[in-house]
Symmetry: C2
Subunit: 261 residues, 2 copies
């Protein structure tokens, strides 16, 4: 039924959508994302062969990497999310992808998580390679339901394919996991929130009488500004934080230039 | 010979200087740093028990941590640089440190390394805790000579103890390793440079005929702006990059708010 003549259709190949994550290629989150984005282009999944949330975010330089084709347009890599994007773009894909979408991560990536997250690091690598990139995480703790996040990923990916993203900037998206029968309220463009660190270290004694320490991760609180990613999520909104890869504090450069020491 | 009356001296206890790194507590770099900074205050070293360059930068939440006192004011932790700073400030130190100095790292931390480096992550954790923090790295590849870097750390630490640092901002310092008989030219306040990614992946076949890939880390090039950290180092200057922990691209927030999708 299309009125586009065949030769025009041939001129513009389908967009390649490159998907990765840090939970590993078998995670439910990446499967939901890949399935949802199929309607927008040719989806390739290039992801770690297992969970890499705690892996370094840098490129693996000290050993060779293996790539295994595990399905149509699906590749498992024994490396970090960063490795996956680099290998995909430089070796695996038949042409340059139009977008990188990383996720859907099981658990939020808010505030300083941006610096540490493997999910975000895949989007960073895409951005470094000059490809518009999005990281998407589900801000829940258990019984993950990826539907809302996958739906939103489709909307945001469609928009980004059409219009691109600001230079050197990725989007870090968090979608709240809503309690049953509650709906997401919408989305907010947010800034990166900030943890408040209490003295949350628990000191105990082991069976042999030796002290040990445990950092209490669940007790972390957040700065309460109403424009932060954290605040949006806590109120039932999706947060979209534009993340700039350049961390230079330009405003302070001149001040420091004036120092005498 | 001091003219300060004893009661005044008692009022102001010595500054605590907290030192950490990611090369491990036994590295030459941290020893040089600790020795050099002794003249400025009470130096505590709280550092990983072994090399943690490839470790995650996040807090260790999934297991307990052990702290071993390995010398006067020296503590080895079986965790990441981030863990070290958290444990030191919340548990180990007798009072709050006046400054965190991380390093001296064996090898540079330039450009995007800032996001990945364990050395910088210790300074990030200090900054998050509201303590002025500096990361210092020696931009060399072998036969490391830490003298120049240690001397500069003293100057910069003295200045920072007196005057502090801009809010939420750490200093990422790289010191060039000079060839014998050449002197460092001075220092420059720089911005974070940017790698240029070529297709540097080497594809080979193993003895069993299976393909493998190796990412060619040494072939990485850099964007050449004369105000970058990379440029300063390449010209024989020390680079000081003020790094802001907030990665939000504020300029693009309004643009994204206007999106309709």
């Amino acid at each position: 039924m299309s009125e586009t003549p065949p030769q025009d259709r041939m001129k513009k190949p389908k967009d390649i959508i490159l998907i990765s994550n840090d939970d590993g290629i078998r995670s439910e989150g990446i499967k939901s994302l890949a399935k949802a984005l199929k309607k927008l282009g040719e989806v390739y999944v290039v992801a770690p062969d297992r969970e890499r949330s705690a892996a370094s975010h840098s490129l693996t330089l000290h050993r060779p990497l293996r790539v295994e084709k595990v399905g149509p347009r699906q590749y498992a890599v024994d490396g970090t999310p960063t490795d996956c994007i680099s290998l995909a773009v430089n070796r695996i894909l038949p042409r340059r992808p139009s977008i990188v979408v990383s996720g859907i991560n099981q658990g939020w990536n808010l505030g300083e998580d941006i610096s540490y997250s493997g999910t975000v690091s895949a989007a960073m690598e895409g951005t470094l390679l000059g490809i518009p990139s999005i990281a998407i995480s589900l801000a829940g703790k258990e019984r993950f339901n990826f539907k809302d996040a996958a739906d939103f990923a489709v909307r945001l990916t469609r928009r980004t394919l059409k219009r691109g993203l600001p230079k050197d900037t990725l989007l870090n998206v968090n979608v709240p996991q809503m309690p049953r029968a509650k709906k997401i309220k919408g989305y907010r463009v947010t800034r990166q929130g900030k943890r408040i660190f209490d003295d949350v270290i628990v000191e105990k004694v082991d069976p042999r009488g030796k002290k040990y320490y445990w950092i209490g991760g669940d007790m972390v609180k957040w700065e309460g500004g109403s424009d932060t990613d954290f605040h949006a999520i806590s109120k039932g909104y999706i947060s979209i934080t534009p993340v700039h890869l350049d961390m230079t504090n330009y405003l302070s450069m001149n001040e420091i230039k004036d120092w005498r020491f």
